[in-house]
C-alpha cells in the first residue's frame, strides 16, 4: 500500500436511508497534494468530505490516516479531527467569541496549549490571512470573505496535517471570492496538503495537483488537472465541463 500517504479513502460508501449518496470511493492524499473535487451539485462531493473527517459516519469502507483506520471501533474521532482541519461553506465561526478567541479556543481546549502561546500562534495565522486588524471584532461584524479567512486561520492554528475545504467560496459575494482564493493559493504554495471541494474551475486548474471528478456518488475520473480539465476521457466529464464553461 502507499506508505507515504497521509490519508487514504478505501471503498467508502454512504447511504442516507435507502438513498445511496456515495459508492465505493477510493483515493489517496499524499503530503503536499492539493486535490480538487469537482462535480455537479448533488454528486456527493460535500458528503465525501464530511465522511473524510467523520462528521458523517461512513456506511462502509475505510478512512485511513497514516496507515490507521479511523472508522474502526474505539478510535477517538476528536483527536483525528484536530489533525484534519475543515473549512465550511457557511464559515461556522463561533458567534459568542471574537475573531481572536475563535482561533485560540481549539488550541487551548483540544491541544492544551498555554493561553499565551495559543494567542501568539493565532495572531500569526490571522496575520497570514490578513485578518490581523480585526482580532477584536465579533463574527457578525465582518464580511463573508473576512469570516472565511478567519475560519481558515482557525483551522491553521491547530496546525493540521491536512486541510479540508467544503465549497469555501460558494456562499460569498463574487467580489469576496478573490480574497479567499488568494489565501488558499498561498497555502498551496507553502506546501499545505489540501482537499478542496470547489466550483472554481480556475482554482482547480491552476492550483491543484490532482483533480477528482464526481458524478452520482462515484468517482468518474481523476488525475492530473491538465488531463481531467483539458482532455477528459469520460463523456460525463466533458458534458459537465461544457455546461460549466458555457455559463
Amino acid at each position: 500500500m502507499h506508505s507515504d500517504a497521509i490519508l487514504e479513502v478505501r471503498h467508502l460508501s454512504k447511504s442516507f436511508g435507502s438513498h445511496q449518496v456515495l459508492r465505493d470511493i477510493d483515493f489517496t492524499v499524499r503530503p503536499g497534494d492539493v486535490t480538487s473535487i469537482i462535480g455537479a451539485s448533488g454528486s456527493g462531493k460535500s458528503t465525501l468530505l464530511r465522511c473524510v473527517n467523520l462528521l458523517e459516519a461512513p456506511s462502509s469502507g475505510q478512512v485511513i490516516f497514516h496507515g490507521q483506520d479511523m472508522t474502526a471501533p474505539g478510535v477517538k474521532a476528536t483527536q483525528y479531527r484536530s489533525k484534519v482541519g475543515m473549512v465550511f461553506q457557511s464559515f461556522n465561526l463561533f458567534h459568542n467569541m471574537t475573531v481572536l478567541e475563535n482561533c485560540v479556543v481549539g488550541q487551548v481546549k483540544v491541544l492544551k496549549r498555554p493561553k499565551a502561546q495559543a494567542r501568539e500562534n493565532a495572531l500569526k495565522y490571522l496575520d497570514q490571512v490578513g485578518m490581523g486588524p480585526y482580532i477584536h471584532a465579533k463574527p457578525r461584524q465582518i464580511s463573508g470573505g473576512q469570516k472565511q479567512r478567519v475560519a481558515i486561520a482557525r483551522a491553521l492554528a491547530m496546525e493540521p496535517e491536512v486541510l479540508l475545504f467544503d465549497e469555501p467560496t460558494s456562499a460569498l459575494d463574487p467580489e469576496m471570492v478573490g480574497e479567499v482564493l488568494s489565501v488558499m493559493h498561498t497555502l498551496a504554495q507553502q506546501g499545505m496538503t489540501m482537499l478542496v471541494v470547489t466550483h472554481e474551475m480556475a482554482f482547480a486548474r491552476d492550483v491543484s495537483s490532482h483533480v477528482v471528478f464526481m458524478a452520482d456518488g462515484v468517482i468518474c475520473e481523476q488525475g492530473d488537472p491538465q488531463q481531467v480539465l483539458a482532455n477528459p476521457t469520460q463523456q460525463r466529464t466533458r458534458d459537465f465541463l461544457a455546461r460549466f464553461m458555457a455559463r
Binding site: L55, V110, G132, E179, S182
Partner: protein
C-alpha cells in the same frame, strides 16, 4: 376621596408598627427566589446537556442504553414537576420525608425544604427552555467545534451553552419573576416570606385591604427591579456594536482580484519581490529574460 386618605392612614399605621416584619418577608422571598432560580438553572442546564448527548447506531449498546435511560429519566422528571402544582409538591416533599422514615429523618429546616421544592420545580421548566435554547443554535456551530477536535462537553461549555444562555435569558427572567411571586405558596409548609407575613398580620388586626396594598406594591417593586436588572444584563452580554481595528487591513485592496498564480510567489502579508515580478513580466512580454540578453 376620604376613603383613599383612610387607606393611606391605615397603610402608614401598619408600616409604622410592622415594617421589620414586611422587610423580613421581602428578604426571605428574594433569597428563596434567587437561590432557587440559580439552582433551577443549573438543574435545567444539566438536564439539557444530558438530553442532547448524541448517539449513533455505531455506538456500543451499553452507551446507547445508558443515554436512552437518561433521556427517559429527565423526561419523567420534567413531566411530573411541570404537571403538578408547586403548592402540592411542597406538601408532598415536606411531609413525605418524615412519613416514609417514620419521623426518623426530618427536614433540617423549612428553608431547606422550600429551596429544594422551588429549585426542582424551576429546574423542570428550565430543562425544556435549555433544550429549546440548544436546539435553536445553528448545527454549524457544533460542526465547527467538532471539526477542530472538541468533545461533546467542550463543545457544549465553550460554544453552544454560552449562546443558548443568551437566547434563553428572557426565559430565565420569566422564571425568576414567577418564582418571586409563586414562593408565596410556601406558606403551606410554614415558610414565612412576604405573603406569609401578610397572612399573619391580618390574622391579628383584620386590616386585609391596607396590608394587601402594601403586598401589591412590594411584589411589583421586586419584579420591576428584576426586569430592569435582567435587561441590563442582556445588553451587557450583547457587547458593544463597535470594535477597534488593531492595524490596517492589507487585503481589502485585493477584493475581487483573484489572478492566476504568480510564479514570483510571496505571501499575502508580504507582497512578492517587485524585482522578481518585473523579471517575469518582461519574460512574458519579450519571451525571454532581459537580464540574459
Amino acid at each position: 376621596m376620604q376613603r383613599f386618605l383612610d387607606l393611606l392612614q391605615d397603610i402608614a399605621r401598619l408600616w409604622q408598627n410592622y415594617w421589620p416584619g414586611y422587610l423580613n418577608g421581602i428578604r426571605s422571598t428574594l433569597i428563596l427566589a434567587v437561590v432557587a432560580t440559580l439552582i433551577g438553572c443549573i438543574i435545567g442546564f444539566a438536564c439539557g446537556v444530558l438530553n442532547t448527548i448524541p448517539y449513533t447506531k455505531q455506538d456500543r449498546p451499553v452507551k446507547r442504553f445508558f443515554l436512552k435511560l437518561i433521556r427517559v429519566v429527565v423526561r419523567v422528571y420534567v413531566e411530573v414537576f411541570r404537571g403538578t402544582p408547586m403548592v402540592l409538591q411542597a406538601v408532598f416533599i415536606y411531609y413525605g420525608l418524615p412519613y416514609f422514615t417514620y419521623n426518623a429523618v426530618q427536614w433540617p429546616s423549612v428553608w431547606a425544604a422550600a429551596i429544594v421544592v422551588v429549585s426542582i420545580n424551576t429546574g423542570a421548566y428550565m430543562a425544556e427552555s435549555v433544550r429549546g435554547g440548544i436546539l435553536s443554535i445553528d448545527p454549524g456551530q457544533t460542526e465547527g467545534a467538532k471539526a477542530i477536535g472538541m468533545t461533546h462537553v467542550q463543545t457544549m461549555l465553550s460554544v453552544i451553552l454560552p449562546q443558548a444562555f443568551r437566547n434563553i435569558l428572557p426565559q430565565i427572567g420569566n422564571n425568576f419573576i414567577i418564582n418571586v411571586k409563586d414562593t408565596s405558596v410556601m406558606f403551606v409548609i410554614t415558610f414565612t416570606e412576604f405573603f406569609a407575613f401578610h397572612r399573619y398580620i391580618v390574622g391579628i388586626n383584620n386590616m386585609y385591604f391596607p396590608s394587601a396594598t402594601i403586598e401589591m406594591v412590594g411584589y411589583l417593586t421586586m419584579t420591576l427591579v428584576a426586569s430592569f436588572l435582567l435587561r441590563a444584563l442582556e445588553r451587557r452580554l450583547d457587547g458593544s456594536d463597535s470594535y477597534e481595528l488593531a492595524q490596517a487591513d492589507p487585503l481589502t485592496m485585493t477584493a475581487g482580484t483573484y489572478r492566476r498564480p504568480d510564479p514570483a510567489g510571496g505571501t499575502l502579508s508580504q507582497p512578492p519581490d517587485p524585482e522578481a515580478q518585473d523579471r517575469i513580466r518582461q519574460q512574458r512580454k519579450h519571451g525571454r529574460n532581459r537580464g540574459e540578453r
